[in-house]
């Protein structure tokens, strides 16, 4: 049977919501995944013969639910408990009426939230979301995270066990609980994007797949919660950064913002980000993602690095520090201050956060740059060397080695 690519694409797009709804129904992730797969197999056959149903999502859900109940019935003697639970769950109203995708928004949020289990590392949380929600294969995920498939397989199996042992409340969350879940899930997606954006090991600097999937999931979240300004901010932030991807490496060498060819930036992605940010700001409820998006937006609007509105960026970092009083935000604020008030002022700020950022490579490379600009080349060299020992990726190391050579001139 020929496998039509558009059918596979539709299954991929239906999957997050369908899996989420089936997990709510069966309260068993493995069973939900298996039921969804069986429904897709049946859809491949039936849809190619009879054409697409009016509501493909509802079709998959109904067939998936029946497939899952068949599995339960077969295992009934072995696992009576799950069968009873699934029968109790038939009170889930959405299955009686024609279900609308958006009725399942809390289910999708819950599933993503389940993946964010506090006992899991952030990498395992993302890997789990990519496996369960997106439906990537273990090989694809392993490749994206630059680990061996076998290692990833073990990690995912372990992570699944961890979340299976936990009791997630399945009743609809109240407003406060929903906001908390959105916050946790947004942070996971943000870190997933960053994992792709700034690889923590290996030669591949930007793991595009991770960035793209983080964007896909954030789009999904925003489509389900269209008035969430911080979700708009998060998506805008990702899109502003992702738009620079074509200009960010050159034959595996990292190109800093300063030296990027801005003609290579994806303009339509940037305009989409601008619209999202404008939409968010209309509400007048600023938050850390919106502010970071605004900062990324200032960079995206500048025709050249020299034309960057550093006054605005400095103001935005000061505002961000009110929401997130962390040494990293302070470090970035110092970079903006170096542009508006000079490197001597910026170095004074760095003195105050040195203790907290001892093992942070950007702290040392930033400090080195300020020292170099104020003529303290020996101190600058030492700081660059310190940054080098903390830098795992080859493209970033190459940049630092060049800087060290400059200090020796």
């Amino acid at each position: 049977m020929p496998q039509h690519p558009w059918l596979q694409a539709r299954f991929a797009d239906i999957r997050p919501k369908a899996i989420a709804a089936l997990v709510s129904y069966f309260r068993d992730i493995d069973l939900a995944e298996e039921s969804f797969s069986l429904a897709c197999v049946k859809a491949l056959d039936v849809w190619q013969k009879q054409g697409l149903p009016d509501d493909p999502f509802a079709w998959i859900l109904t067939v998936g639910r029946n497939a899952g109940r068949d599995i339960i019935r077969k295992n009934n003697t072995r696992d009576n408990h799950k069968a009873l639970q699934a029968q109790e769950n038939t009170s889930h109203n959405a299955f009686h009426d024609a279900p609308q995708e958006n009725e399942f928004r809390d289910d999708v949020l819950r599933l993503l939230f389940i993946c964010c289990h506090p006992k899991l590392s952030i990498q395992d949380q993302s890997a789990l979301a990519l496996k369960i929600v997106i439906g990537l294969s273990v090989e694809e995920i392993a490749c994206a995270f630059l680990v061996k498939p076998k290692t990833m397989e073990q990690r995912i199996t372990r992570a699944k066990k961890t979340i299976a042992n936990d009791n997630i409340p399945f009743q609809s969350p109240d407003l406060i609980e929903r906001a908390e879940r959105l916050k946790t899930v947004s942070l996971m997606l943000y870190l997933l994007f960053n994992e792709g954006w700034s690889a923590s090991s290996g030669e591949v600097q930007i793991k595009v797949l991770l960035c793209e999937e983080a964007i896909y999931l954030t789009r999904l979240l925003l489509s389900l919660f269209p008035s969430q300004t911080e979700t708009m901010g998060l998506l805008a932030l990702m899109l502003f950064q992702h738009a620079r991807y074509p200009a960010r490496t050159d034959s595996n060498k990292l190109i800093l913002l300063e030296h990027q060819n801005r003609d290579l930036w994806n303009r339509s992605t940037i305009s989409e980000a601008h619209v999202l940010l404008e939409k968010a700001l209309r509400h007048g409820t600023p938050g850390p993602f919106q502010i970071q998006a605004a900062i990324a937006g200032v960079h995206s609007t500048a025709k050249a690095y020299e034309a960057t509105d550093w006054e605005e960026i400095e103001r935005l970092y000061a505002l961000l520090y009110q929401f997130e009083p962390t040494p990293i935000v302070k470090l970035n604020h110092a970079v903006a201050i170096a542009k508006t008030k000079g490197s001597i002022e910026a170095l004074k700020i760095l003195d105050g956060i040195e203790g907290e950022l001892q093992s942070y490579r950007w702290f040392h490379s930033t400090r080195a740059a300020f020292l170099f600009e104020t003529g303290q080349r020996d101190k600058a060299k030492t700081a660059y060397q310190r940054a080098l020992t903390l830098t795992p990726t080859e493209p970033e190391q190459a940049i630092l080695r060049e800087k060290i050579l400059e200090c020796e001139k």
Binding site: W6, A9, L52, S223, E272
Partner: protein
Amino acid sequence: MLYSFLIYSAEGIHGRLSPEEQKLAFKRHRLLQEELDKRGNFASARLMPVSNAVTLKSKVDQDQKTLVTDGPFADTKEQFVGFYVAEFSNLDEAINMADMISTPYHSIEVRPVSWSGGMLSNLKDD
């Protein structure tokens, strides 16, 4: 007579196709655009995702203020993702041309245009 082609699709699907499949879909659009270009004026647009949209709703109260909400006009499973406006001598011709870009995951509504304006105002319905 002017006709518009209104293209409907679930937004996420295009991005889930392989890059080759995506190129193939765009190629058919380019063929139609070349054909329409030979015939005279036309306009075409690809729209941003509905998450970028706002909807204005007139409110009938004392203030008569327009309510602006986030998101698309209606929550349906398919979104309006693009349209064509061009001159055709009859419906059949429009249908045949629209068929150049039809796929199993698009619905295309062919609907006559009763008024055109703005950049499209040079297209006369007479």
